[in-house]
């Protein structure tokens, strides 16, 4: 059975009707992936789509879970789908449910048939200096911003109220957090787990933030009112940079996605907590600061007390 690995994550914006008719493609001008690689992937995709239309096989559409792997440049998918030709490239994407737009966001993931000994290694210690490795780990900000906005809009059409929307964004982030923890633990920390509260908090505050957003979080504070509350603050969350909340949405914060990531990391590490994102207005500044509030469960505090 062939095993499929995702090797590159390429974004592109296509006109939906054009995809099937083999006509003009308009890639986003601000993207940083190389034009030639984009064109080659697109042309292969179009061939594949037209071929599968003929064979009456639909491209595989997935649910929101594909968004989970957004931050991870090494993706892995194993499928036992024997109908796939090993040489083909495959379209794996999510159709935007916002009908007023005629565009769809597709992830075009180049699948390659791997030899029995997979060259994909999770250890990157000796490879950080190489330029091509670094470029594989970066994704253009505009592409991500568009993707995230589509994620929010897709969820908006599925729910009736704000609380549900926040919960969905959090759940999307939760899956990312669980995977990020395992990956970082193996890659950067040499298989050492965090067992103490302060340890895991500083891990989230520095390592996780650095990997996801390119910088450490602005501050980590302990709550004054309650023993079990901690706060990670950021002047402007990356995910919120191109989002403005209309007044009728009240206190909704798209940082709920990041709160979900933090909850995923903490939960998978064994520190169950309730994590929420809040806007905190700052004097003298136009845009409010975002604070991720972490409230640990009882058992975590008990265990901390026991460990001394």
């Amino acid at each position: 059975m062939p095993v499929w690995y995702f090797s590159n994550l390429t974004f592109c914006f296509l006109n939906y009707p054009c995809l099937l008719n083999n006509s003009t493609i308009v890639p986003d001008a601000s993207m940083t992936v190389s034009q030639s690689s984009l064109v080659s992937v697109l042309s292969n995709t179009l061939t594949l789509c037209s071929r599968s239309q003929k064979k009456k096989k639909k491209p595989l559409f997935t649910d929101l879970s594909i968004w989970d792997s957004l931050f991870l440049s090494d993706l892995y998918l194993s499928t036992e789908h024997s109908a796939l030709n090993p040489k083909e490239e495959f379209v794996f994407g999510l159709e935007s449910k916002a009908r007023h737009r005629s565009n769809c966001v597709y992830f075009i993931l180049k699948l390659q048939h791997q030899a029995p000994q997979p060259p994909l290694r999770l250890r990157r210690k000796g490879e950080e200096g190489r330029n091509d490795d670094r470029s594989k780990q970066e994704v253009s900000l505009s592409a991500f911003a568009f993707l995230f906005s589509e994620l929010v809009q897709y969820n908006q059409t599925q729910v009736d109220n704000i609380a549900e929307l926040e919960r969905r964004l959090e759940d999307a982030g939760y899956a990312v957090g669980a995977r990020v923890l395992e990956l970082l633990c193996h890659r950067d920390k040499g298989n050492r787990r965090e067992t103490r509260l302060l340890g895991i908090l500083s891990f989230v505050h520095s390592t996780v933030w650095k990997v996801l957003f390119g910088k450490v979080a602005d501050s980590l504070e302990k709550g004054t009112e309650h023993e079990d509350e901690y706060m990670i603050s950021e002047k402007e969350l990356l995910v919120n940079r191109f989002i403005s909340i209309p007044k009728d949405m009240g206190t909704f914060n798209c940082g709920a996605f990041v709160a979900g990531i933090v909850r995923g990391v903490l939960d998978s590490a064994g520190f169950p907590a309730v994590v929420t994102a809040h806007f905190v207005p700052m004097e003298g500044q136009q845009r409010p600061r975002t604070t991720i509030l972490i409230k640990f469960a009882e058992e975590v505090l008990r265990r901390e007390a026991r460990l001394g």
Partner: protein, 110 residues
């Protein structure tokens, strides 16, 4: 001489998500109960010392040093499974490729 090794990956809340038996087993029914018994005993030991150490490999249970590499390799394979966006963490691992790889590693290191 029958030498079997039973390798089980257990997720949180003690739910096994992957099992593999390597080697020749003469009596299957007895072995199954024994494996469960040993597994539960091992889990108890692990739970006790899990929160005192930040290392991943617990020497109390692992008496054979060459098993460390085996565990590391399987851990890498598991992370790759986990990175699959369509895999729900904590559910059974059904990939036959994973199975083949683990058995290959088991044959190599056990």
């Amino acid at each position: 001489m029958a030498s079997t090794a039973c390798f089980i990956i257990v997720s949180r809340n003690d739910i096994p998500i992957y099992e593999a038996e390597v080697g020749s087993a003469l009596k299957k029914e007895e072995a199954a109960h024994q494996h469960q018994f040993i597994l539960n005993a091992a889990l108890d030991i692990v739970q006790d010392i899990a929160w005192n150490t930040s290392a991943m490999f617990l020497k109390a249970v692992d008496r054979f040093n060459d098993l460390v590499v085996f565990f590391q390799e399987v851990h890498e394979l598991y992370i790759k499974i986990l990175l699959n966006p369509l895999y729900l963490p904590g559910s059974r691992i059904t990939s036959s490729h994973f199975d083949t790889k683990v058995r290959g590693l088991a044959r190599k290191y056990l």
